[in-house]
């Protein structure tokens, strides 16, 4: 907190405000995801679509801030980020669509409750949605193979290129927001596809403790899997990202179509 912020001379108010906007948007979105219990304080205030919208807003400001100073790297990063976003968001909406059709709601607590109930069964749609969501999560969080969060090579960066000009507390807030976003996606995948241990509404302290313990376990597993995946694969060319996300989108669509076929249309 004592570190001095270094600002470019031509930085506008937007550049200074953007980190807080990005963090706020991500934070609110993260608060909407049931982590260790359904029906948490904010859980009922908005649904999955609102989460996507909040993340989209955060990204919008990040891209703007990246271009604000006018350095070439910021522009490169923003253009690549927006390219990836325009491909990732439709895929994400397809996943939301198939989940909503299945559970009859876009409310995450309701979806988690439905997934826990006995009438889910094994469905191809769910498997497709899971894979699709994981691919979107990788792209959205700027992980290998779409982006490399650990790189020092300016020319290959996506997310990092946009925040190259940030320093001190601004950078800290942006980094915090990006970590929070990763946590959000892991929690989202966990609560929809592995909702075991989630404390139901009105449960006692023991159920909540169990919920927290299983949540920590899920995060640990996700962390290990992510690390394993990232060491086993190289980063893809920037222009392979559309194919990668296109596959995610196709799986999302296929999930929705299969749902229609298996049900013989919407009831």
């Amino acid at each position: 907190m004592r570190k001095e912020v270094v600002l470019a001379h031509n930085a506008s108010w937007l550049f200074r405000v953007a980190p807080y906007l990005i963090f706020a948007g991500t934070w609110v979105a993260a608060a909407l995801v049931p982590t260790f219990a359904t029906g948490l304080m904010f859980s009922w205030s908005a649904d999955l679509i609102a989460i996507i919208a909040l993340l989209g807003t955060a990204r919008f400001f990040l891209a703007l801030a990246g271009m604000d100073i006018g350095t070439s790297f910021g522009g490169i990063g923003a253009s690549r980020e927006v390219m990836i976003a325009t491909l990732a968001e439709p895929a994400l909406l397809m996943i939301v669509f198939s989940l909503a059709l299945l559970a009859g709601s876009t409310q995450l607590s309701t979806i988690a409750g439905y997934m826990l109930s006995s009438n889910v069964g094994l469905r191809v749609t769910l498997a497709l949605s899971l894979f699709s969501l994981i691919m979107v999560a990788i792209a959205e969080n700027a992980r290998i193979p779409v982006d490399n969060p650990a790189t020092h090579l300016e020319l290959t960066m996506v997310h990092e290129a946009m925040v190259l000009e940030y320093s001190a507390r601004h950078l800290a807030v942006i980094e915090l927001a990006s970590f929070l976003k990763l946590l959000l996606y892991v929690s989202l995948i966990a609560c929809v596809f592995a909702p075991w241990g989630l404390a139901p509404v009105g449960a006692g302290a023991a159920a909540h403790l169990l919920g927290i313990a299983t949540y920590a376990g899920k995060l640990a597993v996700a962390g290990v899997l992510l690390a394993l995946f990232e060491t086993a694969i190289a980063k893809m060319r920037v222009f392979r990202a559309p194919a990668f996300l296109g596959a995610a989108f196709m799986m999302g669509i296929l999930g929705v179509l299969l749902l229609f076929v298996s049900r013989g249309g919407l009831r």
């Binding site: 070439s72 650990a150 300016e154 020319l155 290959t156 694969i233 190289a234 893809m236 060319r237 222009f239």
Partner: protein, 481 residues
């Protein structure tokens, strides 16, 4: 052994330029002295140096006919003030206007201060420029890269170097042999052994002496250890630029083991200042020799698995195959040495083309490929690691008996040497007078590789530049002098 030097008139100079332009000979160096310009060329294992006088401070431009000479001529003008007549590119190269003098090695003039540097123009719709460096986000040497891109596609790349100019040639002039050997060993730290060997050999050539046999073999041992360390490091680093850190970690560990073996055998991780005119500074330690034997077994055990990992990782192959292609024509024209040349069909290696002891009696192969992409440059390195392992083994088995050093006399004369550094052929020419260096010229392999990087990246995407650049791994310090 030594390349003869001839003083030629304008017609002889023009004939030499014609031979270069026609591709009959390869340029090995271009340097100056007050009132004189020297040019080294070679063909078919025979080298020669031509010198031409510069009436009114001008000589006939080589670069007007032979592009590889462009940067050499620009550097020559900055250092000596000798003008190449008819040259198309007259911009400064080493002198960014921040020196205290202009033409410090010639008739020095007062500095005029920095002037704007005009980059080559590119015209077209939707083109934009991306300036990169000289300060980079990673801890690497400084160099400026000016990209002109259409979206993500690179239309033109122009390099601007000279940021680590230390006035090496100026410092070498007048230095005694000990100090000059140290300075030469610091031209480019990662190839300090190769530089030291090249300097020592040219000094011995000038004095008409020869280092003891054991010293020559120990030099080769150090050179191969240096090659091993650098190639292993490079293979990992190239993969790391494609965000494949697994290879980087394993190769980094192997490189570290090579450096530790070097430390225990020769007392310095990079073997700096171990090669001196007249021999080597110290004999190999017995435990060091055993350590290198153990190192060979260890690398031979690990390398096949790493090669398999590289070859079987589809996501990595997708990045390296077809990226940053250099055509064999360009590699031949520029006389690119090392892995850059050999990946593009130019199977030139100074250890074979101009064999020097002990390589003339050692058994090793030189492999070349035609594909010229990043993948080819990785594979050439892998092959060279294998060859170097064999060379180290042969050297340890057949090491002659001491002594390792004979004190050089304080003589006078001219000498030169062409040595294979891990990057490629390294040329040194010097003139000694009374035990001191009168003029020394060091030409790094990267002089003829940097320009090819500009060609390799064309029509690739901006994001693939770091990968291409790492696969070239040119020296900044070595060409900035």
């Amino acid at each position: 052994m030594s390349w003869p030097r001839h003083l030629v008139d304008a017609a002889g100079w023009s004939g030499a330029i014609e031979a270069l332009a026609a591709g009959r000979r390869t340029l090995a160096g271009l340097w100056g002295e007050p009132g004189l310009v020297h040019m080294a060329t070679h063909a078919d294992g025979e080298g020669a140096i031509l010198s031409t006088p510069c009436p009114n401070g001008a000589y006939r431009s080589v670069s007007a006919w032979h592009a590889p000479a462009i940067r050499l001529e620009r550097a020559l003008f900055d250092l000596h003030g000798l003008r190449p007549d008819g040259a198309l590119d007259k911009r400064p190269w080493l002198d960014h206007g921040r020196w205290t003098l202009r033409h410090p090695l010639g008739e020095a003039l007062a500095a005029t201060g920095p002037v704007p540097y005009p980059f080559l123009a590119s015209e077209g719709e939707n083109l934009h420029q991306i300036p990169v460096g000289p300060v980079h986000a990673g801890v690497i040497e400084p160099g400026h890269f000016r990209f002109t891109a259409a979206g993500e596609t690179v239309v033109r790349l122009e390099e601007r170097l000279g940021y680590v100019h230390r006035g090496l040639e100026g410092r070498l002039a007048g230095a005694d042999l000990d100090r000059a050997a140290k300075l030469a060993g610091r031209a480019s730290g990662d190839s300090t052994v190769a530089y030291a060997i090249a300097f020592a050999r040219s000094a011995e050539d000038a004095l008409g002496i020869e280092a003891p046999a054991r010293a020559q073999w120990l030099r080769a041992l150090m050179a191969e250890l240096e090659r091993l360390a650098n190639h292993l490091g490079d293979i990992g680093a190239i993969c790391n630029d494609a965000a494949f850190s697994l290879m980087h970690a394993h190769c980094g560990a192997l490189r570290e083991q090579v450096l530790r073996a070097a430390e225990s055998a020769f007392g310095h991780r990079l073997m700096m200042d171990r090669v001196i005119p007249g021999g080597v500074a110290a004999d190999i330690t017995p435990e060091g020799a055993r350590g290198i034997q153990a190192l060979l077994r260890h690398i031979r055990d690990r390398l096949p698995r790493l090669v398999e990992l590289y070859d079987d990782t589809a996501s990595l192959q997708d990045r390296t195959v077809g990226t940053g292609r250099v055509s064999p024509e360009l590699a031949a024209r520029f006389g690119a040495g090392g892995f850059v040349g050999r990946a593009s069909g130019r199977s030139f290696d100074a250890r074979k083309a101009f064999p020097y002891a002990p390589y003339d009696v050692l058994n090793f192969g030189i492999r070349a490929r035609e594909d010229g992409d990043v993948n080819a440059r990785v594979w050439i390195r892998i092959e060279e690691v294998r060859e170097s392992l064999g060379l180290v083994e042969q050297i340890l088995d057949r090491l002659p008996s001491p002594p390792v050093h004979l004190g050089p006399p304080a003589g006078t004369g001219e000498g030169n040497a062409l040595v294979e550094s891990f990057r490629g052929d390294l040329f040194v020419w010097l003139r000694l007078a009374g035990g001191r260096v009168e003029r020394a010229y060091l030409r790094d392999a990267s002089w003829f590789q940097w320009p090819l990087l500009e060609a390799a990246i064309e029509n690739n995407i901006v994001a693939d530049f770091p990968l291409c650049n790492k696969s070239f791994n040119c020296s900044y310090a070595g060409v900035d002098l």
